[in-house]
Amino acid sequence: MTTLTGTRLLVRLTIRRDRVMLPLWIGALVATVAATVSAFADLYPDERSRNAFGASIAATAVFRAFYGPLLSTTSNGALTAWRMGVIGAVVLALMSTFLITRHTRREEETGRLELVGSAAIGRSAPLVAALIVAVVANVAAGLLCSVTLVVAGEDATGAIVFGLALAGGGAVFAGLAAVAAQLTETARAANGLTLGVLGAAFLVRAVGDGTAGLRRVRWLSPLGWVEEGRAFAGNRIGVIALLVAATAVSGAVAVYLNGRRDLGGSLLRTRPGPATASRSLAGPVALMWRRQRGAILGWAAAFIVLGAVFGALAGSIGSLIETSPQMAEILRAVGGPGVLVDGYFAGVLGVVALSAAGFGVSAMLRLRSDETALLVEPVLATQVSRLRLLAVQAVPVFAVPAVLVLLAGATAGMAANATLTDGVDHLGRLLAGAAVQLPAVWVVGGAAVLVFGVIPRWAALAWGVLALSALLTEVGPVLNLPQLVLDISPFTSVPRLISGAGVPVLPLVVLTAVAGAAAAAGAVAFRTRDIG
């Protein structure tokens, strides 16, 4: 087929360009799987301790919503597959999305694909090459996870099903990202579209897994299929075939669409704009809004839905207690059902705060990518000063994440008030709980401003700050890390939910001061450093 001429060469080019990026993604996932299985082996050495753990998981809606139900307690492999199944597939889906977009739509947007396309290269070759590399990377990541589990002494069949389910989950999103790259005109929009689908897929199965009686809903989501592979708990190979088929179909659709459109064209077209700017488009504030309003409004909508869904899910905790007298007994022993609901909301607020901090980081890095794209230079050549430009950016970096967290807290509180009948004002408590997360969110934003100002070439390290915080806060306690290490994450120092004891003011003040100092240091450095 001449449309595929040069695919092999482009596969090599793709691997050459990603030789650092892909091993990092895969290595991080495999290392986390290895750490998780070894931690479980230490914590739950025998079947009895695993059964007790399983019972506590079954009772906690937040665990089911985030990780899915624990299908078996017969082995540590099963525990690891539960803990890392959905999360691992999400990690591989992110890797696949960024990989596909980077090598297809981004190449087209920058004009490099035009250069490649003018050579003896088939029309579909660049897309197919990117898909091949994505599939190979996913399978490699999945099988390395399998090997890790086998080395840890787990059952080989279960380990292979686990690895292939992860790989399949990632590969499906490679196919979906390839389709998105045909629909949109920019790499940013293609990423946004695919990540939106990924978020929806996660939410759909979270609702299915977290709500009693809605188990089948998870079949609507590819991430639910990863769970349904039932690694170490029945090992359903047929579901893996479903993931393979979905990858093949989406990939084929992408290749078909790619063959039908022009270079640089897209199915969702941009219309011509106005010949003159409206009166309001007059300065850096208006420019920031025009550039980022889509992202800001989209994230706000997502946080409103996320808050409402997780708030409503709290209702399932109450029903669980009513149906099981034994469970009610256990709960009274640990401090009453209120503790369970609090634990659930604390988990939700933690994830909400981390995601909002992610928005702040991406907003800051957007200014950096504008700078390298020579879009900052013409603005700074006008009477807009550097400090003013940076001050405007404080809106998406600090203010918007705060609003996002409060929005999610508010909708979660309202939904909880509607579904829980315990007479507690969940709206007030969740709003307060959301508010105390803000200093930690701002510390991440401050760190982003700092790296932007001081080491602009390494500005992407801001993601590292966020990833480390997330890892320490969400996974650290399970790995039994010492408190001193956990305290590196600002999210460890903020209370998760306001109890009657009142607000510990000092950590909040200290964190806010740290955030302010980091941002100020970044601003001072930006004022004097070279642009470009």
Partner: protein, 298 residues
Amino acid sequence: MTAIEVDGLVKTFGSTRALDGLQLSVLPGEVHGFLGPNGAGKSTTLRVLLGLLRADAGRAQVLGLDPRHDSVALHRRLAYVPGDVNLWPNLSGGEVIDLLGRMRGRIDPRRRADLIDRFDLDPTKKGRSYSKGNRQKVALVAALAADVDLLLLDEPTSGLDPLMEGVFRTVISEERTRGRTVLLSSHILSEVEALCDRVSIVRAGRTVESGTLAELRHLTRTSVQAELSTPMTGLEGLPGVHDLVVDGPRVRCQVDTEQLDELLRVLGTAGIRSLVCAPPTLEQLFLRHYDTTAVGSR
């Protein structure tokens, strides 16, 4: 009082010495050509003049202001067209022109409309749909329609077709008549010759020549290749003839532009079968006048 005064400017990027003691002096109201091959340090100089880069050593003053400390006050009085123009993908060309104009201070709506018309620009297209030349036009219209004293133009014609280059030359002559100061960086000698009152020539971060075009006349020799009906001798003695090579009926030489007429008259006496006259390229100039090895290896 000079519009731009630069003295001993040094800027290094890692081990690369982009500017190496650069001198530049631009008088108010003149169109000053800033001429040099690619990588000579022209764009770096302009970025230092805008305060976007910090010089490692040397002094730069623009309109009597320090570009680092008084950048906002300075930027209110100048407009800049970058060498690589990139536009915001979701803004139309017209919106970019207005936005940049407002951020600079004022924009003259009548001049804006006139320039859009003359440059034959469609202002309704979105940033990413423009070709390189059209992005260049957007930046040019935005800069030229601004009510400012100084224009900093970094290779502004690099993406324009010959027709638009013509429009650009006319517009710059008008700017001179209005009394604006223009610093025009270029690597095209003929463009600078056509537009500029004075020229500074840079190479490898250093100013190698500076003066009026008349003062630099020795740089603008014409290269002549002729094939004659009969071989002739005695050409060495003619004034202004350099690098003469005679090969039977074929003659090659360089001649000072003001002596061209005399040379052609003498050649005509031997009967001219074919004749090629060409202005020297910038690279040839550099090869001839300055450090040959350094430029040749570039």
